[in-house]
């Protein structure tokens, strides 16, 4: 019988799950020249099997139950000399995170793989998205339409069809949702609970769900509708369906609505639906002035609405803020001492349109606020790449994202803009957000730290007040506490919400104005 070469290694203190080890063995076995392989814990039973296969080397004989053993049998030594086990393990670990059983290439293929599915997520180029969504609705599936660039006419047609079939069509441009505890798209690992959300704003939904989770309550369902839903043309078709679904959902005790102000005629359509709901409702229609009723409470900020919902969920009466005015005021006073005369403007670089919108609402009443998407009373930037006085930019807007990934993933333009703002001697505050969660940038600290350092260098001795809000939870893959700690080590002021960051920025510039 031909003598084969057998090579075994013992690895102490290394632990992997069974699937990883099976795949490692298979991967080694696929290498040319390898005849057989195994990667297992060194129990006596496993060693007995290896012995029967002629694969138990002397070195492996002495291993104990808590050791990992990796062994291969090859035609000869030369053919396997260069096998790098560590590299194989690393590739397996990263592959296991994204491995799919078998990626279907069509909706029909997906339905064959999973005939019980009742929801389709559609993320294809906008021009094809309408047809795919229609197909999914025809197949009786709820749809989360992640794609953007779907025409308004198509959106209306699809939503009318969905309503007629008793289905949800979330989107288009629906970036996030949480259905029965499963986060979809850009969502966060939040607690489950009794607060149901309907939102026409992706980042708004993420912000409120994280604040709720971080404050001890949880989410039953979170339904995204796409930002155009509450406009006069679509007429809130899915917002209304979302409210009805949550009203019927046994797990939902409180309904939280998140949106920019709806069109007046849409609000008139929603009002009777809300009146029929028996559950308490908290509504955040950013920038709108509404009067509370017995069952419907209106909040002025995402933080305010989320905390109000938490209070109702816990059956408490006292509504708190995450960072009170006195705490923010103390930070503001400490900051203005460091700023030089002439530094007076806020430069807000937001990854979500809703954050830019909310900041503008909370800075309302201040003069000279510019934006690439200004709210009523603020001014349109002359050129979106050049700031003017107080500038609050939605970096998720089309002009920044054509041919690029969303700024929650790709920080490159924000980093450049940070450095650009730092060269302006009138810049006092660089206000920004970091959104964590599934789909978002996995290493925000590593991305942002060099840009902060460079911004400080180009500021030539001027102090810059960096204020950052984090949207995320400790269960997100990036871990909110770790990111927060890292940002603080970079001497960045980290606030608990976008609203708190905006309020703090306002306090600082108002103090600065008073100093002149």
């Amino acid at each position: 019988m031909k003598n084969h070469y057998v090579k075994g290694t013992v690895r102490k203190g290394e632990y992997y799950d069974s699937v990883t080890l099976m795949r490692l063995a298979q991967k080694i076995g696929e290498i040319s020249g390898v005849l057989d392989s195994a990667a297992v814990m060194a129990s006596d039973s496993n060693k007995a099997i290896l012995e029967s296969a002629g694969m138990l080397t002397e070195e492996l004989r002495d291993s104990s139950d808590n050791d990992l053993i990796i062994v291969l049998k090859a035609e000869n030594q030369a053919s396997v000399e260069n096998i790098d086990i560590d590299k194989l393990l690393t590739s397996l670990k990263s592959a296991s995170k994204s491995q799919a059983v078998r990626a279907p290439r069509s909706l029909d293929g997906a339905l064959k793989n999973m005939p019980d599915a009742n929801l389709a997520i559609i993320s294809v180029a906008g021009r094809f998205a309408g047809d795919e969504a229609r197909r999914a609705l025809e197949a009786g599936l709820h749809v989360m339409l992640f794609s953007d660039n779907v025409s308004l006419e198509t959106e209306i047609e699809l939503k009318r069809y969905a309503v007629a079939k008793g289905l949800l069509l979330m989107g288009p441009d629906c970036g996030t949702a949480i259905i029965n505890g499963v986060p979809l798209g850009f969502a966060n690992a939040v607690r489950r609970g009794d607060i149901g959300i309907v939102a026409a704003s992706g980042t708004g939904l993420q912000e409120v769900s994280c604040i709720i989770s971080n404050n001890g309550a949880g989410i039953s369902q979170a339904i995204g509708t796409g930002s155009r839903d509450l406009g006069s043309e679509v007429g809130g078709l899915m917002f209304i369906e979302g409210i009805k679904a949550l009203s019927d959902d046994k797990a939902t005790k409180i309904i939280l609505l998140v949106s920019k102000p709806p069109a007046l005629e849409t609000l008139e359509k929603i009002a009777p639906i809300l009146n029929n709901v028996t559950k308490p409702i908290v509504a955040i229609f950013l920038g709108a002035e509404q009067k509370d009723t017995d069952r419907i409470k209106y909040a002025k900020s995402l933080e305010g609405g989320a905390l109000l919902a938490v209070t109702l969920s816990k059956g408490e009466t006292d509504i708190s803020t995450l960072q009170g005015d006195s705490q923010l005021s103390n930070i503001a006073r400490a900051e203005i001492i460091k700023l030089k005369l002439g530094q007076q403007f806020i430069r807000g670089l937001f990854s979500g349109g809703t954050f830019s919108y909310e900041a503008q609402v909370l800075l309302r009443g201040m003069d000279d606020i510019y934006s690439n998407s200004p709210i009523k009373g603020n001014k349109q930037l002359d050129y979106y790449l050049k700031s003017q006085k107080h500038t609050l930019i939605d970096m998720g807007a089309d002009e920044f994202t054509v041919g690029r990934l969303h700024p929650m993933i790709d920080f490159s333009l924000r980093k450049k803009r940070m450095i650009q703002e730092a060269t302006d001697p009138e810049t006092a505050i660089i206000l920004f957000d970091i959104v964590l969660g599934f789909g978002a940038n996995m290493n925000p600290l590593d991305e942002i730290a060099p840009a902060i350092e460079e911004a400080r260098q180009v500021a030539e001795g001027r102090y810059l007040s960096f204020i950052c809000s984090i949207t995320g939870t400790d269960n997100d893959p990036q871990n909110r506490s770790t990111v927060m700690r890292g940002l603080k080590e970079l001497e960045i002021i980290v606030t608990e919400s976008n609203a708190a960051a905006s309020k703090l920025a306002r306090m600082i510039v108002e103090e600065l104005a008073g100093r002149k």
């Binding site: 632990y15 992997y16 799950d17 069974s18 699937v19 990883t20 080890l21 099976m22 063995a25 298979q26 076995g29 057989d36 392989s37 195994a38 990667a39 297992v40 814990m41 129990s43 006596d44 039973s45 496993n46 099997i49 290896l50 029967s52 296969a53 694969m55 104990s64 139950d65 808590n66 690992a189 607690r191 939870t473 400790d474 269960n475 871990n479 909110r480 506490s481 770790t482």
Partner: protein, 273 residues
């Protein structure tokens, strides 16, 4: 900020050091004692410390005192109310017949939700060609013969043959043995019989040199269940088909194949009683 959501009732006071690290859990060791610091997704268990805010990639030390924990030197006080009670209690009088009626549903759910190459292969015949390499093929045959010994009533020999058999941090054979013990513990309550001698026999035959397997076997012997295991047992005895399906699905997401392997041990045991 680190938050403690639940602390298992089998966790002993003492100083622990990190033993093995995964994305959602870090196992800590103090002699033979183990504590698994886990996130909410993993959930409560007799030796689980369910936390929020722990950086699983970095945490190294754990000290457990009464009403106080030190995680990497950070002190966290906890209330006794968050102590997880791991003993199995049924919400209503268990109906022994129900278990047998539900076994088929449980089996179907195990086949449906078990990950590939778990011990489901023991209840769903797999062609030998599906296994890769001589180790996997021989392993499958060894599992089969261990099970055969048990079915012949040679329980102790079967358990010994299962011990340490399989891949991974806790070999499938060890998880199977723990499932067997847990099933007998549940059967004591459901059928009102005394299996203590048999349980002790299985336990002493199953215990080996794997620190983590041993910790799980001890929990099983002492009648301690994780919340996922408990929910399944309750579903098997007094809940609907849908509940069994849901609980089995949850069980099969525990570890890579551990949950499914434990489930097969439970199924085989009830099937034999």
């Amino acid at each position: 900020m680190i938050e403690i959501l639940s602390i298992g009732d089998k966790i002993s006071v003492g100083q622990y050091l990190a033993h093995s690290r995964f994305s959602k859990a870090v196992n800590f060791k103090n002699g033979e004692e183990m504590v698994a610091v886990v996130n909410e997704e993993i959930g409560s268990g007799p030796i689980n410390l369910v936390t929020r805010g722990v950086d699983f990639g970095a945490v190294d030390s754990l000290q457990v005192d009464d009403y106080r924990l030190l995680i990497d030197g950070n002190e966290i006080r906890y209330e006794s109310t968050i102590r997880y009670q791991s003993k199995l209690e049924f919400p209503e009088e268990p109906d022994p017949n129900m278990v047998f009626l539900n076994l088929q549903i449980f089996k179907e759910a195990l086949v449906k939700y078990s990950p590939p190459k778990s011990l489901t292969q023991l209840i769903e015949t797999s062609p030998i060609s599906e296994f890769w390499g001589s180790f996997e093929k021989t392993l499958y045959l060894r599992f089969k013969s261990a099970l055969k010994l048990m079915n012949l009533g040679r329980i102790r020999e079967g358990v010994q043959a299962m011990r340490g058999l399989g891949f991974g941090l806790t070999p499938g054979g060890d998880d199977f043995n723990a499932g067997m013990i847990s099933a007998y513990k549940a059967a004591e309550i459901v059928f009102g019989r005394d299996y203590s001698e048999l349980i002790n026999d299985i336990y002493t035959s199953a215990i080996g040199g794997n620190f983590i397997s041993n910790a799980f076997l001890r929990c099983a012997r002492d009648g301690c269940f994780t919340e996922t295991q408990k929910a399944l047992m309750i579903a098997l005895v007094c809940k609907s088909d849908e509940e069994i399906d849901t609980c089995t699905r949850a069980l099969c997401t525990t570890g890579a194949t551990s949950g499914a392997d434990w489930g097969i041990g439970v199924f085989m045991t009830f099937n034999r009683i």
